[in-house]
């Protein structure tokens, strides 16, 4: 932080961008971890005594397989879905960073990098919307 004021205006704004991204990631991970922790403890409470059976792959049920279904099932008070919702918040954290980077490059009118960053964002959204699978 000490070099913040040493190297002129451009560096200072770059520093501020770094600070913002750092906080964004920290807050995203903290919220996601808190949701997973609270919902996870309730989930353990409800299912802790059941036998563990993850030796054979069955795949998750449909209500835990897409962003929309997880949102819907979470609002119905399903604990497994709420854990999954916390995991989705975690996945959303780096995506939020990419979205913020679009803004950063647009502000300095670096259209080449606005394009590059939007390309990365498109790939991420393609994957999260099921990648054309369902």
């Amino acid at each position: 932080m000490s070099e913040q004021f040493q190297a002129g205006d451009t560096r200072w704004s770059e520093q501020r961008v770094d600070q913002f991204i750092g906080n964004l990631l920290r807050i995203g991970v903290s919220i996601a971890a808190a949701v997973v922790l609270v919902a996870g403890i309730i989930y353990l409470w409800q299912h802790g005594s059941q036998p563990a059976d993850n030796r054979v792959f069955q795949g998750e049920p449909a209500e835990l397989r897409s962003v929309r279904a997880v949102f819907k099932t979470t609002t119905h008070g399903n604990t497994a879905a709420t854990v999954q919702f916390g995991l989705l918040l975690l996945i959303a954290t780096p995506i939020a960073r990419v979205i913020f980077s679009v803004y950063v490059f647009a502000r300095v009118r670096d259209w080449l990098y606005v394009g590059i960053t939007l390309t990365v964002l498109a790939i991420l959204l393609y994957s999260l919307t099921g990648g054309g699978l369902e």
Binding site: M1, E3, Q6, R11, Q15, D18, I21, G22, N23, L25, R26, G28, V29, A33, V36, L37, A39, Y43, L44, H47, G48, S49, Q50, P51, A52, N54, R55, F57, Q58, G59, E60, L64, R65, S66, A80, V83, Q84, L87, L88, L90, I91, A92, T93, P94, R97, V98, D110, L112, Y113, I116, T117, V120, I123, L124, Y126, S127, L128, T129, G131, L133
Partner: protein, 277 residues
């Protein structure tokens, strides 16, 4: 065993994995998957899904501290993320077509390679000359040093881009961060200063993993009951590791951990070969 017992053991194991992974620079994901499959008999696809989620957590958690130091290069990271996210998508699709025994064997090879890479002494790479692609893409940057900001150049952009695609495929196929391959691409091939390549690599791991997470989710690989204890174990373990790292001497620890990783690699290959995984 009851689910509660499995969850608690997984949590403890993941905590240790995250701690050792961040102390030694090998990453937590590389031991979480063998731990889940070899020790708990959990299906490889669930293990890979849980590991991938924990990779996003540790990468974003550590990046929060790294970015503020001002070493990471946003342009290099963003440009190379095109390669890693495309690779991650390809890897995640590949994961659903390849038999798990093959994936286990590829995993074993990556473990052996990571162990070897962490033990090998790091040769200092000389500063790079200006490069046509790097100039056009404005990848060259500056980094903070004791004597103020120092400029550096980036070279062999196509080579680094290609290797980053491979890193993405491995990440999507195996649910790991592939930090080792990412650092290799930026450190050895593109000749970025070491601090810049490690911090930028860590920065990119979360975005790369997020690209395969969507495919994993829709294929039903992400089991909340398993991903929860793993993520909640690896994350504090890794953050504790980065805090200790300041003054710790990790030479001996790294040798021990690399040996463990190598043994796990051989076991993954053996179990894949005999069809047990």
């Amino acid at each position: 065993m009851s689910y509660l017992a499995v969850a608690l053991l997984l949590w403890a194991g993941s905590f240790v994995a995250g701690l050792l992974g961040s102390l030694t620079g090998l990453g937590g994901g590389v031991v979480v998957v063998p731990l889940m499959t070899l020790a708990f008999g959990i299906d490889l696809r669930y293990a890979v899904g849980a590991s991938l989620v924990s990779v996003i957590a540790t990468s974003s958690g550590a990046a929060a501290a790294y970015v503020k130091q001002g070493y990471s290069n946003l342009r290099v990271g963003m440009f190379l993320e095109i390669a890693t996210t495309l690779g991650a998508l390809a890897g995640a699709y590949l994961a659903s077509y390849l038999p798990t025994s093959w994936i286990a064997m590829i995993f074993g090879l990556v473990l052996l390679y990571s162990a070897w890479l962490s033990l090998r002494s790091r040769r200092a790479t000389g500063p790079a000359e200006p490069d046509r692609w790097a100039t056009r893409l404005r990848l060259d940057g500056t980094m903070p040093t004791a004597t103020g900001h120092e400029a550096y150049h980036v070279r062999n952009v196509p080579g680094g881009f290609g290797l980053m695609f491979v890193a993405g495929v491995l990440s999507g196929l195996l649910g790991i961060g592939s930090g080792a391959v990412k650092v290799l691409a930026m450190d050895t091939v593109m000749r970025l200063p070491f601090k810049v390549s490690t911090t930028t690599s860590n920065f990119m791991i979360g975005v790369t993993a997020a690209a395969s997470a969507g495919v994993y989710l829709s294929r039903g690989y992400i089991d909340p009951g398993l991903a929860m204890p793993v993520m909640l174990g690896v994350l504090p373990g890794a953050l504790l590791g980065t805090h200790i790292l300041g003054g710790a001497r990790v030479g001996a620890l790294r040798a021990v951990f690399a040996t463990v990783v190598a043994v796990l690699g051989i076991e993954m290959i053996y179990n894949g070969w005999t069809g047990k995984l």
